[in-house]
Subunit: 421 residues, 2 copies
Amino acid sequence: MKKLSTEIICIAQRARKASKELANCGSAQRNKALLAMAEALREHKQRIAKANKKDLELAKGQSNAFLGRLKLDEQGVLKIAERIEKIVHLEDPVGKLIKEWEGVQGLKIRKVRVPIGVIAVIYESRPEVSADCSALCVKSGNAVILKGGKEAFNSNQAITQALREAIKPYLPEGTVNLIESKEREAVDILLTLSDYIDLIIPRGGESLIRKVVEKSRIPVIKHYKGICHIYVDEDADLNMAEEICYNAKVQKPSTCNAMETLLIHTDVAVRFLPFIVRRLQNSGVEVRGCRKTKQILDAISKLQVKEAKEEDWSTEYLDLILSIKVVESLEEAIEHINKYGTKHSDAIITDDRKKAEEFLQRVDSACVYWNASTRFTDGEQFRMGAEMGISTDKIHCRGPMALEELTSYKYLIYGRGQIRE
Amino acid sequence: MKKLSTEIICIAQRARKASKELANCGSAQRNKALLAMAEALREHKQRIAKANKKDLELAKGQSNAFLGRLKLDEQGVLKIAERIEKIVHLEDPVGKLIKEWEGVQGLKIRKVRVPIGVIAVIYESRPEVSADCSALCVKSGNAVILKGGKEAFNSNQAITQALREAIKPYLPEGTVNLIESKEREAVDILLTLSDYIDLIIPRGGESLIRKVVEKSRIPVIKHYKGICHIYVDEDADLNMAEEICYNAKVQKPSTCNAMETLLIHTDVAVRFLPFIVRRLQNSGVEVRGCRKTKQILDAISKLQVKEAKEEDWSTEYLDLILSIKVVESLEEAIEHINKYGTKHSDAIITDDRKKAEEFLQRVDSACVYWNASTRFTDGEQFRMGAEMGISTDKIHCRGPMALEELTSYKYLIYGRGQIRE
């Protein structure tokens, strides 16, 4: 424990030291490092894929979903390299002027973006996170400490070794760091080092995030689950509603911005339910309806669906499962979303601007849509560039966390000898 | 303990419920509530001052500084009322458009400010914090939970009672809340209620803030101490330097933006030290100098000063005490500040633009000044309006925390049936 603690503190100190230099490395320098990182991944793709095979071997017997998240073949490595090259071309957030104005006595105040400092990313299985997060941190001038899951130990080691070698000519040594220890306590120790680490970003399942929040003495930005809703209003264009609902559920059900609950206004339920449910069922979606949903489907179309239980409203399926509820009003829809939702992404389908605006204002989620699929909640779809994840917090950043969200700011104040009276 | 817990959860739930309604109360409604709050304080000034006298009575024997912070007479109450009226006239941050652009497929994205939700403020002695923080939260559409020190129990109760009565016709009941319990555990319980509270703001001494950070499961924005530096460069206008240093130390030494350490370039030390030290000493400032400072003063002017010890560089005096160090270079000054500073406010005095820019860029503090006093770090001086305090964090907000910093944002996305491909 003592030894482990010393080792982790050492890494964190190295990261802190690097972050101080990094803040002053120019854009060109950081972009060169990114290009070298992409190049190194290409060069070492075989070695990385081989390390990944070793991890897969050790994980034998785990679920297919687990192995799928863990897998990283040569093609996968090449894709990461491409993503990193894209990041090179994104605008550098560091040093950007946010605002400029005059304070009292003619003081000129400039608010400019600066890196946050040292960011620790705690994640599970997916080894590509190691490279993606490193690249985003390098671009935004932050040092990064990676703590991956022990199941991806060999992959993470191979990736970060390649990255660390690659950036050496351009950036300080402690820019990219990996905690290699497989011991459980490693995370606990990391979470206490507020002198060296400015921000913790946990990426993974709910239990990982809860554990991190529970123990951290450092600010955490949470990327929690997404229980996303679509509300089909009585004034909806039902063809549009069907396309959007189908897309939000079926196009990629394993993502946090996929629809988990469909709310339908009672006045259009009879006209809408049979069509959407048949189409979803034909695509293999298991539907769980409220009592009214079941009644309508049974009476009109003889479609059979499971009955939704109370816990369905607060379940993130991440799968081809959908809960459906018939509501009496816009009011009921908004209340349902604010009660069971996770402040992620929710949509209203309607042709009535007034109701749409009420929904947009009152639904307390990071992204609220009018007549579009919730699946668009994503840094690239928003044209914000690559993203670290989707924050369900309200502090610091909300929704897609892209490069700007990886920065803080400072005030530069230009005077001519002003003193306070 | 069980009973206390139930009581506090009850208050937090009430605040959460209020915050949902508050977010949709218009600007006019919130401003009416603010005017009523100011009016109520005027009306009840006698009762509040009387309650404060009771607190002062119970605190007999405490230090004068302590009693000074606790004291709130009728004049003081009137001043709070005036401050609240000023807040009415500030721009409403809620609903403000931050940015608007197009995502993929022509999606129209609007990023708009929304209230954070429920903010808990944990503070010591000063009872006016109860009213000031309530007003800022009402203006920014947040519900507030106040947890003041037990020494100000009667004052806080009288103030919040008046405020709660005043806002009743305009805003939901749980908008302003006071935790009345004097038990130590009350804060501990509060810090676990992440379902109902979005942000914790501790205001007070270092030990209070450390305790809050240690125990909180809710994001905390820290307003830590300020060890502010002024670096007098070899190319400084020494008359300007003297005026600024004198102002930053003497004008109000008890504030977090007052200078605690003066750094002087060795090449101007002989010309500058005797003048500034004599002037400071004449105003009752105790000077603690590095060895070189002592040597120079002794050799040239026979001025006697104490020797600064290592711990002086990391001490926030908040008093008429100043540590002075002679440095060999700009580099050494920057390193000293980044090592011993608290990322609050630091200044360089120089006529050399290049050196100033280097200092502004490399000193890692919320506010970095060129040729002006550090005493300007303040929401009103920055023309940002009234402030909650000065954040020494880098997450969410840095420097003066005014109305905008009391908000989060959300994305409103306007579509025409777009689905993700």
